[in-house]
Amino acid sequence: MPNNQAIVPAASEPAGAGHNEHPSYLLHHFQSVEQQADTSNFAMWLFLLTEMMFFGGLFTAYLIYRNWYYLAFVAGSHQLNVVWGTLNTVVLICSSFTMAMGVWCAETRRRSGLVLCLILTFILGLGFLGIKTIEYSEKIEKHHVPGFHYNLSSFLDPASDPEIFKEYHDKPLPLDIARHTELYFSLYFLMTGMHALHMIIGIGILGFMIFRARAGAYISGHVTFVENFGLYWHFIDIVWIYLFALLYLISRH
């Protein structure tokens, strides 16, 4: 039996469609620009799904421990500064808006608009991290970072922490409840830290995009990269909104 040489015949495109008509950004293994854009969009959504599962583990831990150690979690969340938190939420939502505008600019081929939007997003992202740094340094000063030097005095004796005491008039917690605030701060630092890490990565990519956009990239109709980055950015934004609600707001009475 002769070994058959059958290569399934007939290409999908008419032979006339020359290769030189393909835009330069079309990768060799795709048939069309639409396919390529579809593909990377779909991949981005899947990636966001994995991100959800990644944060999901932390959210699960949060739910369980909040349920177990409710009083400690309330006391812990009173330590967070809602003003900074709200400001950060506003900053992030604004940055999402500028990002969305950036995508629109890229789609409508406005180079200077795109560059401006990206720079604004970049600045707002940095602003968020700046505010986060202020918040972190407050916690570090009070020894609220879990681990070696975790200090319980703000919970055992709230009056020693006049600013917070003024606002909430917390009763002192017994030692065995106060100890569990460490778990609250573990989760606080883990969740916001993971979020900040995503922000830092995002800002890094933004810097790269600004550099490229100034050189005229992304405005030739092929905007998948900007779009996908936008998705990533909005995702981080949404995660923050959940974090804000769960860590700052839910325990305010």
């Binding site: 070994n3 058959n4 399934v8 990644f54 569990h180 460490e182």
Partner: protein, 559 residues
């Protein structure tokens, strides 16, 4: 034409391996390390996973040698613990999880669906690098003292009590996890978006269906192990307390997170095997797989159910009896799709035209071993029985039956089946059959005694054991030496065949998949022109027509 084989090779005198193919396209180390060709990446995976298999296998050999006697004569308890931990970590995270997707998945998915490459070739290369970097962490961990937590990293043992390189090991798994995630994303996107014209979902080979199911697990489960590994590391470095009972943390939470990944992960280790077996059984009985839809959907069902069974690892760990009931029930249900597959494969043979080439022998071995592994799995899922046999050698035997007897047999079947496609050359058939038989015998001799040991109560991870268990342990160790030959032999003849094997031609197995319709080894862009899928999967009649047409075309030109 011989009657006990399907192979039809081109005339060896005139046949040549095509000069232009993905192997010869470019030369030099850099052309491999920077390649974006899915086939080359598959070869890279083959080399690296084989490397890790040798490490894990060496650890296994030492473990079995040590267990020849009830007392520890060869190594200290500490070393023994490190050996089985390394064996577990390497074999699970750096061999079983990546082999099937990394090697066969990468090589075949684009070929089978008629694409030029996977959807995201650069990400694909990145996955391999992440895998290698993760592996380097494990190597670092091993060279500088090893880890002795077992592959399960049980807290608080791993976080507060052992004094070995847990962080290195966890970091390696964390990074390799991203390799799995990216591979999963890549496969799903490829299968969704890159299919050739005419390649509808129900024309896909079952191989693709099972890899699709595997990828779902990759995407949804792996991030959870990533975060658990981060938590382990932070717990060790800073002491965040989430798993520390003295700080109010719950060590069981880690078990939940860990098994939420690790149970679906065992399906990552078997689902691709099922896909391979579907291809092989169909091809060597010349029949479309019996109940195509049932087999396809059972893969997806396994992937979905696998997310609801994780707590069956914790039946005696103090989870509530009612949740134990639920998880036991779901674990029973996940066995159903597996049973459906086994029966469908058996039924595929009915009225087929069966030949017993090496891949088929491995496939038969797979069905037998997997059935035993599956049945004992049901025993373990049964609540009452689990109390007695969990944490003993019974469970060790069970998962080796599924992982090694199942997945490794299937992988060998797949490797032999697609070897001619990957290299353009055949392996020596008689040696192949011999190795398949040796592997089957050695495997059963190694692991069947462990079922009895387990029921007798011998706990797993024991360095010293009561002397009455010695006879069965000796039997197991002697089986392991046969098993080792079963692995060594293919390694040798496959390497030999790279140079001296018979030239395979495009389609030595007379198989129907699109991958067989192009040259072997394929071109870098896989097909000269994008194929059109105009027939069902496993349509052997179409193949007949095709070769008849070819003959007719050739005939006039010969005149």
């Amino acid at each position: 034409m011989s009657t006990n084989t399907i192979v039809s090779l081109p005339d060896q005198e005139t046949a040549r391996i095509p000069k232009k193919n993905f192997l010869t396209k470019e030369n030099g180390l850099l052309s491999w390390l920077l390649t974006r060709d899915h086939k080359r990446i598959a070869i890279l995976y083959l080399i690296t996973t084989t490397f890790f298999f040798i490490i894990g296998g060496a650890a296994a050999a030492l473990i079995r040698l040590e267990l020849l006697t009830p007392t520890g004569d060869m190594v200290s308890s500490d070393t023994y613990n490190k050996l089985f931990s390394i064996h577990g970590i390497i074999m699970v995270f750096f061999f079983l999880v990546p082999i099937a997707p990394g090697v066969l998945g990468n090589f075949l998915i684009p070929l089978m669906i008629g694409a030029k490459d996977v959807a995201l070739p650069r990400i694909n290369l990145l996955s391999w690098y992440l895998f290698v970097i993760g592996g380097c962490f494990e190597l670092y961990m091993m060279i500088f003292g090893g880890v002795d937590t077992g592959w399960t990293f049980t807290t608080p043992l791993s976080t507060h009590y052992v004094n070995s390189h847990v962080i290195g090991a966890a970091m390696g798994i964390f990074i390799a996890g991203f390799s799995s995630i990216l591979t999963g994303i890549n496969f799903i996107v490829t299968i969704h978006k890159m299919r050739a014209p005419g390649m509808t979902w129900f024309r896909l080979p079952l191989f693709i269906w099972s890899y699709y199911a595997t990828s779902i697990i990759f995407v949804l489960a792996t991030p959870v192990i990533a975060i658990s590994m981060v938590l382990i590391m932070l717990e060790r470095v800073i002491g965040i307390g989430l798993f520390d009972p003295t700080k109010g943390g719950d060590p069981l939470l880690f078990q939940h997170l860990f098994w939420f990944y690790s149970h679906p992960a065992v399906y990552v280790m078997i689902l691709p095997g099922m896909g391979i077996i579907s291809e092989v059984i169909s091809n060597f009985s010349r029949k479309r797989v019996f109940g195509y839809t049932a087999v396809a959907f059972s893969s997806v069902a396994i992937a979905v159910f696998s997310f609801f069974v994780w707590a069956h690892h914790m039946f005696i760990m103090g989870i509530s009896t009612y949740s134990a009931l639920l998880f036991s029930l779901f674990s029973m249900l996940v066995a159903i799709p597996s049973a459906i597959k086994v029966f469908n494969w058996s039924a595929t043979l009915y009225k087929g035209s069966i030949t017993f080439d090496t891949p088929m022998l491995y496939a038969f071995g797979f069905i037998g071993l997997f059935t035993i592994g599956g049945c004992t799995g049901v025993m373990l899922a049964t609540l009452g029985m689990d109390i007695h046999v969990t944490e003993t050698y019974f469970i060790v035997a069970h998962f080796h039956y599924v992982m090694v007897g199942g997945m490794v047999s299937a992988f060998m079947a797949g490797l032999h089946f697609w070897w001619p496609k990957m290299t353009g050359r055949m392996y020596p058939e008689s040696l192949g059959r011999l190795a398949a038989v040796i592997l089957f015998i050695g495997f059963n001799l190694t692991f069947f005694p462990q079922f009895i040991l387990g029921y007798l109560g011998m706990p797993r991870r024991y360095h010293f054991y009561p002397p009455e268990f010695q006879a069965l342990n000796v039997l197991s160790t002697s089986g392991a030496s046969i098993l080792a030959i079963g692995y060594l032999l293919p390694a040798l003849y496959l390497i030999w065949s790279l140079r001296h094997g018979a030239i395979a031609g495009n389609n030595p197995w007379q198989a129907t998949g699109l991958e067989w319709q192009t040259q072997s080894p394929p071109l870098t862009e896989n097909f000269t022109e994008i194929p059109i899928m105009d027939h069902e999967a496993y349509d052997y009649a179409w193949l007949e027509r095709q070769s008849r047409d070819n003959r007719r075309e050739e005939a006039p030109s010969a005149e």
